[in-house]
């Protein structure tokens, strides 16, 4: 019986999973680090237990502590979310050994796909086309890699075998850069994953990142829920995703083919539960297996909206040993959905993380708008975890409607206290190439600039600033007059004076 679930995660995804459990009538257990006592997932769960200090390795990555909580709170199952332990096959195995249901694939599937080098060779054997690069061998020495690099040709990518999220990844344009990039990639990889093994991939120019959502039950049924277009990336970090893809919407045959290949990839590792098969699609519409993420994906909501399948509920259904609720022919992509990741980063200062307390948090609402978030007014963004504040997902009958709705939603969103990526998304939505669907994975890094302003509201900005300056000036004068020492006002006086030196 699956009646009580521990969510081994934090932030928006912990909240997302708790919501699905509540809607299924399941009891939920949250875990939290000392830095997260005030996090939303702690409030929303039925039970909540501390698992240690703020640093992830002492809490959210501490398998022993988490399993102790699972035992003590007598849960039946564990949902890992994404990140942290979600793709750690030892954690999955430890859950199973403790008699718990791990809501995800079997450890061997996680392990196979987790080592990107092994995954590539497994896929190649199964008949799935992979990006050209190093073949079959793990733990290559520098000299071996250099020799292979020349065969593959430049530009190419050095990638971490244990990798993910762009860590330990380097682009190499010519042979002279190779040694330097290799040692950097090894160092970063070792720091991030405790493993400095790397491999090479040919850099496919002008490629799109297209991924397929897979679900599979314990009875050998594997279906896909269509594709997501995730080419809007900055330094290999996804920023905006949509479902379906502009390309595959015009080429149903290609969608069918890629979907079948994605299912084949999943079958080749006896995949169970939800997962994502990532492809690169080049300008000639050749597709190459990139990697498989053996977990729930950040961007799963866009697929939920166009297919009507609640993926988290489906994960739990599969974990309960039920058959998939639908067959492939019942999956129809209807309408369009777009997700913008709102991060606590300064769009105007090279996306540097922004720490602070969110004072105002008015989320956009109304028709066709979904927000998945783990923050609320009064919540403090800490430096310990990732910078995601929320995901805004907008949908409509057409891509156009979804885009216009997203524009409207971002304009309504009010976050005060930290800088966010909202301005970036607003700019992106106004870019003609994005609107036309003409972009690839290098678009944001190479062809897009935040500088160009969409409006020429210089005059309005001038009035805003003059009015604010006037107000502070008067307040400052008032404070000085009254001879009161109010710290917050003195700060303004100080600033005022500094600005007028």
């Amino acid at each position: 019986m699956l009646q009580k679930v521990l969510i081994a995660n934090r932030g928006e995804i912990a909240v997302r999973v708790i919501r699905a459990c509540h809607e299924l009538g399941l009891r939920t257990v949250a875990i939290f680090s000392e830095a997260d006592r005030h996090a939303m997932h702690v409030y929303y769960a039925d039970e909540a237990y501390s698992v240690g200090q703020a640093q992830a390795k002492d809490s959210y990555l501490n398998i022993e502590k988490i399993l102790n909580v699972a035992k003590m709170s007598e849960v039946d199952a564990v949902h890992p979310g994404y990140g942290f332990l979600a793709e750690n096959h030892e954690f999955a195995q430890a859950c199973i050994d403790a008699g718990l249901i791990f809501i995800g694939p079997m450890p061997h599937a996680i392990a196979t796909m987790g080592d990107k080098v092994v995954a590539r060779s497994t896929m190649r054997k199964a008949g799935v086309p992979v990006v050209p690069g190093t073949e079959g061998e793990s733990n290559l020495r520098d000299d071996e890699i250099l020799a292979i690099a020349s065969k593959i040709g430049f530009p190419l990518l050095i990638k971490s075998a244990a990798g993910g999220g762009g860590k330990g990844m380097r682009r190499v344009n010519d042979k002279s850069m190779m040694m330097n990039a290799l040692s950097e990639a090894r160092r970063e990889s070792a720091a991030a994953f405790g493993n400095d093994s790397v491999y090479l991939e040919k850099l496919i120019q002008g490629a799109r990142h297209i991924e397929f959502q897979i679900i599979a039950d314990n009875y050998g049924n594997v279906i896909h829920l269509g594709e997501r277009e995730c080419s809007i990336q900055r330094r290999h970090q996804k920023l905006l995703e949509e479902a379906p893809s502009v390309i595959l919407s015009d080429d149903i045959g290609l969608r069918t083919k890629m979907g079948e290949i994605a299912c084949l990839a999943a079958r080749s590792v006896d995949y169970v539960n939800a997962g994502t098969v990532e492809f690169l699609l080049d300008e000639d519409r050749n597709y190459y297996f990139l990697e498989m993420n053996t977990r729930l994906q950040v961007e799963h909501p866009v697929t939920e909206i166009v297919t009507g399948v609640d993926i988290v509920k489906e994960q739990i259904r599969i974990a309960r040993n039920r058959r998939l609720s639908r067959q492939q022919h019942e999956i129809e992509l209807k309408g369009w959905a777009i997700e913008c990741r709102i991060n606590a980063e300064d769009s105007y200062s090279d996306f540097i993380p922004s720490i602070g307390t969110i004072n105002t948090n008015i989320v956009p609402t109304g028709p066709g708008v979904r927000v998945d978030t783990g923050v609320y007014p009064g919540y403090t963004i800490s430096p310990h975890y990732d910078s995601m504040i929320s995901k805004v997902i907008c949908s409509g009958k057409t891509r156009g409607e979804a885009l216009l709705r997203m524009r409207r939603a971002l304009e309504e969103y009010r976050i005060v206290g930290v800088k966010t990526t909202i301005p970036f998304h607003q700019k992106l939505l106004n870019s003609h190439r994005f609107m036309a669907g003409q972009f690839n994975t290098s678009f944001v890094d190479e062809d897009f600039s935040l500088g160009g302003r969409s409006d020429t509201d210089d005059e309005i900005a001038a009035v805003f600033a003059a009015l604010a300056a006037h107000q502070y000036r008067q307040q400052a004068a008032y404070v000085v007059q009254r001879g009161k020492r109010d710290a917050s006002n003195w700060k303004w006086v100080g600033r005022w004076e500094r600005m007028h030196r």
């Binding site: 005060v416 301005p423 805003f464 107000q471």
Partner: protein
């Protein structure tokens, strides 16, 4: 009260009257300017148009975020203008530059050495926060005077990481 506002090189003369009006470059508008909550969000009705702005005072001027566009506005008022015209303008910031941590985090690496000459845009320190590595770059040309942190140090927001002295030709 008259203010001179400079935005992207364009100057606007904004005269704020006490009776809910402003005059911008000679054109008079009815306005209604209010903080939403406790600020720094503001609602501005000007000649009927409804705008919202996120306004912050920074050391470089007033920063206005409006419909996703960020405007840096320099404001001079009558008094400071008069001082300027009387030759009382203060010297431009020429002193040493203190590179401060924009957020708490872990020092991953310091890519320069004391005494090293650097150019604007050179990477000085790599800081890890929120699972990201952030490269802190030099805002100007100069020489590294002092380095105050080491790799692996955990540092607080606004901690001084290093000190930079300007080049002689600046």
């Amino acid at each position: 009260m008259k203010y001179l506002a400079t935005v992207n090189g364009t100057k606007f003369e904004v005269d704020i009257n006490e009776d809910s009006h402003v005059t911008v470059d000679g054109e008079r508008y009815e306005i209604d300017f209010r903080a939403i909550g406790n600020g720094p969000l503001y609602s501005l009705l000007i000649g009927g148009n409804s705008y919202e702005g996120h306004i912050e005072a920074t050391d470089d001027g007033w920063q206005v975020l409006h419909k996703g566009d960020l405007y840096m506005v320099e404001i001079e008022d009558e008094r400071s203008q008069r001082l300027m015209s009387l030759g009382g303008a203060v010297a431009s910031a020429k002193g040493d530059y203190y590179l401060k941590a924009p957020m708490p985090g872990l020092v991953v690496s310091v890519t320069v050495e004391e005494g090293q000459e650097i150019r604007q845009g050179d990477i000085l320190v790599v800081l890890e926060s929120m699972k990201m590595q952030n490269e802190l770059k030099s805002p100007r040309d100069g020489t590294i005077l002092r380095i105050q942190v080491n790799p692996e140090d955990t540092i607080q927001q606004d901690a001084v990481l290093l000190v930079l002295s300007p080049s002689d030709d600046q």
